[in-house]
């Protein structure tokens, strides 16, 4: 299987070649090595997952019977037209929303039945989000924006700045740490958002149209960064409607009318 091939097969000197990249060894779940001896536990396992929205008498299915397995280190893109259920899938995967049917195992743990408090805890610690609109706090510095990801997860205040600075270095904009997001270009902002998403060392990175607000050249830089993250072993799910963006992933799944079909690899 090709999922974590890059990570496993990479010679040590290859790792040396990426010194600025974030170190994933510290993450309890992201590193694939611990699964090498056993049957690997998938990071994401959706089985018969459904999500319905009810408005009055009418029930609108947004996701229908979705099955999806994503292993550690995989880079999967989800493509589909608008209104196809992409965002619902992302919300369910990100524990922002809860499914109405089926099961969702995250790192082998059933999370679809968790209480709101537990879902919030899993969301904060195990999932990194990258949004199309960046969602940076405009009145806080870049460093504070990145440190915000550690605010609720019990990281001691004394460690946050250093870790945030490391994360910024790893995405190549350490020199912008003291800037306000409004002083940055779109590409730089998205890199800050990516630094924020990875600073908590999540098991899963969810990116929702991360290049939707960027021009093609900066898109390329950001996607290059995502490639580097994948190379370092991070599990990534990217939602996009752009086939060219989707093509950079290891695997692409297609969603249409709430139904998922295993697409062709790019």
């Amino acid at each position: 299987m090709r999922l974590s091939r890059r990570r496993r097969n990479r010679p040590p000197d290859d790792e040396q070649a990426q010194p600025e990249l974030y170190d994933w060894e510290g993450s309890p779940d992201a590193g694939p090595d611990q699964y090498e001896a056993d049957v690997p536990i998938p990071v994401v396992k959706l089985a018969g997952l459904g999500r319905e929205y009810r408005s009055g008498e009418v029930t609108v299915p947004a996701l229908v019977d979705v099955d999806l397995v994503i292993h550690a280190g995989e880079y999967v893109s989800v493509v589909g037209p608008s209104g196809s259920g992409k965002s619902t899938l992302l919300n369910v995967l990100g524990l922002l929303d809860h499914p109405t049917a089926g099961s969702y195992l995250l790192d082998g743990v059933e999370v679809s039945t968790l209480t709101e408090v537990d879902r919030t805890a899993v969301r904060g610690r195990s999932i990194g989000f990258v949004f199309q609109a960046f969602h940076l706090l405009s009145h806080r510095t870049v460093l504070e924006n990145v440190a915000l990801a550690m605010l609720y997860t019990g990281v001691p205040a004394s460690e946050r700045s250093a870790r945030a600075a490391d994360a910024l270095e790893s995405v190549g904009i350490g020199h912008r740490a003291a800037f306000q997001p409004t002083q940055l270009s779109g590409g730089e902002r998205q890199r800050v958002a990516i630094a924020r998403a990875i600073v908590s060392r999540p098991a899963l990175l969810l990116a929702d149209e991360p290049t939707g607000n960027l021009d093609s050249r900066t898109s390329d830089t950001v996607l290059g960064l995502v490639d580097e993250l994948r190379d370092s072993g991070l599990t990534i799910i990217m939602i996009t409607h752009d086939p060219a963006v989707a093509a950079r992933a290891d695997r692409s799944v297609r969603i249409r009318d709430g139904r998922l079909s295993e697409g062709v690899a790019a």
Binding site: T120, G124, A133, R140, E144, L148, Y152, T153, G154, A157
Partner: protein, 405 residues
């Protein structure tokens, strides 16, 4: 998995950062609370200052006056219940806190009239119906009296029962006596009294102003006067309560309850009364402006919640629980209230000082007011923040992330 948490320190620093992000708006929002709190502080402080001012004016006279009476209270002719001893001044003078004391009482002269010149005047324009008072020598000081001319009795006049008199200014005018150097004489009935002096004024027992005043001993000898009816005591400032308790025992050790002691109203109750009068309207005004301030904070916090929907969604995605979101907005609104309370208390205190300076008063303010004002402001902010915080906390993260930017 252990629930996510937000330490108090992080909560405070996030709230401060949230407020500092929009300093102009924060300042304007705080303004309402500033107005309300400063109005309240200034109102209470000016009332206290004015109350203290009034008490201060009373201090000169009222607060240092203790009066003991042995008259039976009631309508009509008053009756003496028990006699005062003859040595009132000795007994009271030994009490610590008594500055001066003296006994006085009206002398019963029957139908006798007072005249300056003995004439058989059928038209009766020469003699007058003037009260005669018997006093002990200490009375002049005890009533804070001053003499216009001549001199006052001493213990010798009293002991010897000399037939001398001092006239109140009203009596002197009626009797057309203005000088005493020629030793004028007034007649009480048929009995002549040499006028020693004429009073200018008395601060207490103003009935003396229109009376002919003779020594206690003289009254006993000449008119069968038995006992004074009133003992006037001038006490040191602050000793009124103490002396009031001791005077009755000193004067009537066997049956102190037989005499009535009047003491000045305690300064505390007087001040309270003044404050209640002055405060009521202004406290209502201050309360209304504080309410307006609270509504202002509630409004702006609510707008802020709507504006920061994206931030709320982001925080939820980062592991913030709904209670963390609520706490952040509550702390922000409370902090605005506390800030308004501090600034308002400052402005209020300055206003009190300014008013006092203009009127040349001593500014007075209970210490708990400047301390309590920020608490009041904080409470206002806290209450104002409840609804916006609940709104913020009830936002679904999905909706928040979708609609916010």
């Amino acid at each position: 998995m252990t629930p996510t948490r937000l330490s108090l320190r992080d909560l405070l620093s996030e709230a401060v950062a949230g407020l500092a992000a929009r300093p102009g708006r924060t300042a304007l929002t705080v303004l309402g609370t500033v107005l309300g709190v400063s109005a309240l502080v200034a109102t209470v402080g000016i009332a206290q200052t004015a109350g203290n001012r009034i008490v201060g004016a009373f201090d000169q006279l009222e607060a240092t006056s203790v009066v003991v009476s042995n008259e039976q209270p009631g309508f009509g002719a008053s009756q003496i219940r028990v006699a005062f001893p003859a040595d009132v001044e000795d007994r009271l003078g030994r009490l610590n806190g008594v500055q001066a004391s003296g006994a006085l009482g009206e002398v019963d002269i029957g139908d006798a009239r007072v005249s300056a010149v003995k004439l058989d005047d059928p038209r009766g324009q020469n003699d007058f119906d003037i009260d005669v008072y018997a006093v002990t020598p200490g009375v002049l000081e005890a009533v804070k009296g001053t003499l216009r001319t001549g001199r006052w009795f001493d213990a010798g006049h009293d002991a010897r029962a000399d037939t001398v008199a001092v006239l109140g200014p009203g009596a002197a005018a009626a009797l057309t006596i203005v000088r005493v150097d020629q030793q004028p004489v007034v007649f009480i009935g048929e009995q002549p009294f040499v006028v020693m002096g004429i009073l200018a004024d008395v601060d207490r027992q103003t009935k003396l102003l229109d009376a002919v005043i003779i020594p206690d001993g003289t009254a006993r000898a000449a008119f069968g006067y038995r006992s004074a009816t009133t003992v006037q005591v001038d006490v040191a400032l602050g000793a009124a309560d103490l002396i009031a308790g001791q005077a009755a025992v000193a004067l009537r050790p066997n049956d102190p309850e037989q005499v009535r002691v009047s003491k000045p109203p305690s300064p505390g109750s007087l001040r309270n009364q003044v404050e209640v009068d002055v405060n009521f309207l202004f406290i209502i005004l201050g309360g209304v402006s504080l309410l307006v301030g609270a509504i202002g904070i509630a409004n702006v916090t609510l707008v802020s919640v709507l504006e920061r929907i994206g931030e709320i969604g982001l925080r939820r995605a980062m592991g913030g629980r709904s209670r963390h979101i609520a706490a952040q907005f509550l702390v922000e609104s409370t902090a605005m209230g506390v800030l308004g309370g501090i600034v308002g208390a400052t402005i209020g205190v300055l206003a009190i000082v300014a008013v006092a300076a203009v009127r040349q008063w001593t500014p007075v303010l209970a210490p708990w007011i400047p301390v309590g004002a920020p608490l009041l402001g904080g409470l206002t902010g806290l209450l104002a923040g409840v609804y916006p915080a609940v709104r913020a906390a009830s936002l679904e993260p999905v909706d928040a992330l979708r609609s916010g930017t």
